[in-house]
């Protein structure tokens, strides 16, 4: 019962997101039913489509987990895009610079991403812990520093001479196994594994207990002997590492090289939507990432087959975030109703 009631607000948010999307389509004279049919079929109409949706879901599980983990400590990691890019670059570098047996190369390449993303995120945690600098501001700045730094590296020292600004291809020993004939790769399983690991870490270990304690009640946690500063840095390191893994898997499973970035891709920002919709719980995040995976998978087909600009997907996404952000209002309304019925409100 309790877990079921947790689903109410996310479900309402998604329904309203899709409804608003339909309104936009009607305004420009397009058929929303046709468009949503196309959207559905692009993911569930064929095995190939379904696999592509899972490919799109993979990085969103990582960045969603990243945002959620920081949230649990009361921190906001808006720097997922920057952490993604430094890890993306570091993993590609380890992937092409040296050839190793796969059972060493793959962990090493992942580790490079974890460290790069972790340090990038941990720095924001460090500034917050030592100097009280708001991690949101630091993360935003770090996003752009990462963008231009990786743009310089991939388009310069790490670039393979040729017409495409990208690194050389990584060795086969650093590539993740793919389902033959599709782009779906082990990265998806790694993402599920990460979700499981984060669940275990948060609820079954002392580290997780301390992290959550700092998030729920920093003063109480400190009185209980928990080192807040240490936990902030640790949480932002783990958060950054998770966003970094999204970048590593992008290289190792999908692109097999790193392309020079020309802007922030927005996976970190979408991760915020995923974490909110998934209520910062690993299971919820997998579901939410899958939903956004479906949306991004169908966006292009919706444009070509139903004539709806694919940017509608972002509008729907934003509306879902608005509804999740305003959850306070829902709980307030629910609480008032419950009070009227004479039932004690059960607030998280």
């Amino acid at each position: 019962m309790k877990s079921l009631s947790k689903l109410i607000v996310p479900v309402i948010a998604v329904i309203f997101g899709l409804l608003f999307g339909a309104v936009f389509m009607v305004i420009i004279g397009k058929d929303p039913i046709l468009a949503y049919q196309v959207l559905w079929n692009s993911s569930f109409g064929s095995m190939r489509g379904f696999f592509t949706t899972l490919v799109n879901t993979t990085p969103l599980i990582f960045t969603g987990l990243a945002v959620a983990f920081a949230f649990r400590t009361g921190l906001f990691n808006i720097g997922g895009d920057g952490q993604f890019l430094v890890a993306y670059t570091a993993t590609a570098w380890i992937g092409f610079i040296i050839q190793l047996p796969w059972f060493i190369h793959i962990p090493l390449a992942l580790l490079a991403g974890i460290l790069a993303g972790g340090v990038w995120g941990g720095f924001a945690g460090y500034l917050k812990a030592k100097l009280g600098v708001h991690e949101v501001i630091t993360s935003i700045m770090m996003n752009y520093i990462s963008l231009y730094l990786t743009s310089f590296l991939i388009g310069g020292p790490l670039m393979k001479p040729g017409p495409i600004p990208a690194t050389p291809r990584i060795f086969a020993s650093a590539r993740l196994w793919r389902i033959p004939g599709s782009r779906l790769n082990l990265g998806f399983l790694l993402a599920l594994l990460a979700a499981l690991l984060i669940y275990y870490l948060l609820w079954k270990t002392t580290i997780g207990y301390e992290v959550r304690a700092v998030g729920l009640n920093p003063k109480g946690a400190e009185n209980g002997g928990i080192n807040i500063a240490r936990n902030m840095v640790l949480a932002m390191f783990i958060s950054g590492a998770l966003a970094g893994l999204a970048g590593s898997v992008q290289v190792m499973g999908l692109q097999h090289r790193a392309y020079q970035p020309f802007g922030l891709i927005g996976l970190g920002f979408t991760g915020i939507a995923v974490a909110l919709l998934g209520k910062n719980h690993p299971a919820g995040i997998i579901l939410a990432a899958f939903l956004f995976g479906i949306l991004s998978r169908g966006a292009n087909e919706m444009q070509s087959m139903a004539g709806v600009p694919k940017d509608l997907i972002e509008i729907i996404q934003a509306i879902i975030i608005f509804f999740m952000a305003a959850e306070y209002v829902f709980t307030l309304i629910l609480r008032k109703k419950k009070k009227k019925k004479g039932v004690v409100a059960n607030v998280e």
């Binding site: 310089f152 802007g263 600009p309 972002e314 934003a318 509306i319």
Partner: protein, 308 residues
Amino acid sequence: MLNNIIAVLNTTLRLATPLIFAALGGVFTERSGVFNIALEGIMLIGAFTAMAFSYLFGNPWIGVLAAMGAGMLIAAIHAVISIEFKANQVVSGTAINILAVGLTGFLLGTMFEHAGQSPSVNKVAVLPIPGIKEIPVLGDIIANHIPFVYLALLLVAVSYWVLWKTPFGLRIRAVGEHPAAADSVGINVKKTRYIAVILSGLLAGLGGASLSVGLLGIFVKEMTAGRGFIALAAMIFGKYTPQGALLAALLFGFADSLQMLAQTIGIDFIPRQFLIMFPYVLTILALAGVIGSATPPAAGGEPYDQEE
């Protein structure tokens, strides 16, 4: 050589202008205690609106007015969500930034079949200042610009005056530093924050318009490309004051201008990425206390609950 110096300084002013508008908006909202990372999205919507109205009416000034209105409207959404609903202000800002990208792309694709950018629209004409324009060197640098440039400089002075010399400015700063104390002396915390946030929307919208119907005469998809965030950086680096934000915006504009010049004349001893990165690195150093210091208003980001 002299021509290059004049060109760099002239371009500095032009490139700094959108940043100055948005950074001033940032000063108002942050001073009132409301985070507004939506400046980026509001700028983008302002840029699109200005282009669209200039396209429809053939007059860029109608576009400018519409951009100000659109900016206020979007900022009002942020205000309601963060002040009334007491939602997380960063979340609301993120939603607006995503919405802005989606909405402008959606409308662009609907209005003009070929997505990516709008056709050229009428833009605001250059307005030389007679008298000053004739001064050698200086005239070429400061007196031969679109009116947006002069307006931005003027608004810096106006903002300073409003924030530090009027009761209204005092109220804004009070609700940002200590809302409970402000409340106890009869200041309407909510109303003051609403006005500050909506004002920031007007300014960011103006910043967006200065980009589309001011500098370029065209709208390109996601054309703000992080300028709202650089404005945020300028505001912080400028210690949350209008005059500081102006200097920071000029410094950032200068770096950008140098980068462009280096590209055109083929200097590459500093990779251009490092020049573009400069504002962000500088802001981190300022935040970390390595150079100067940047202390935000005490109640920044916290919703005010009267009952507490």
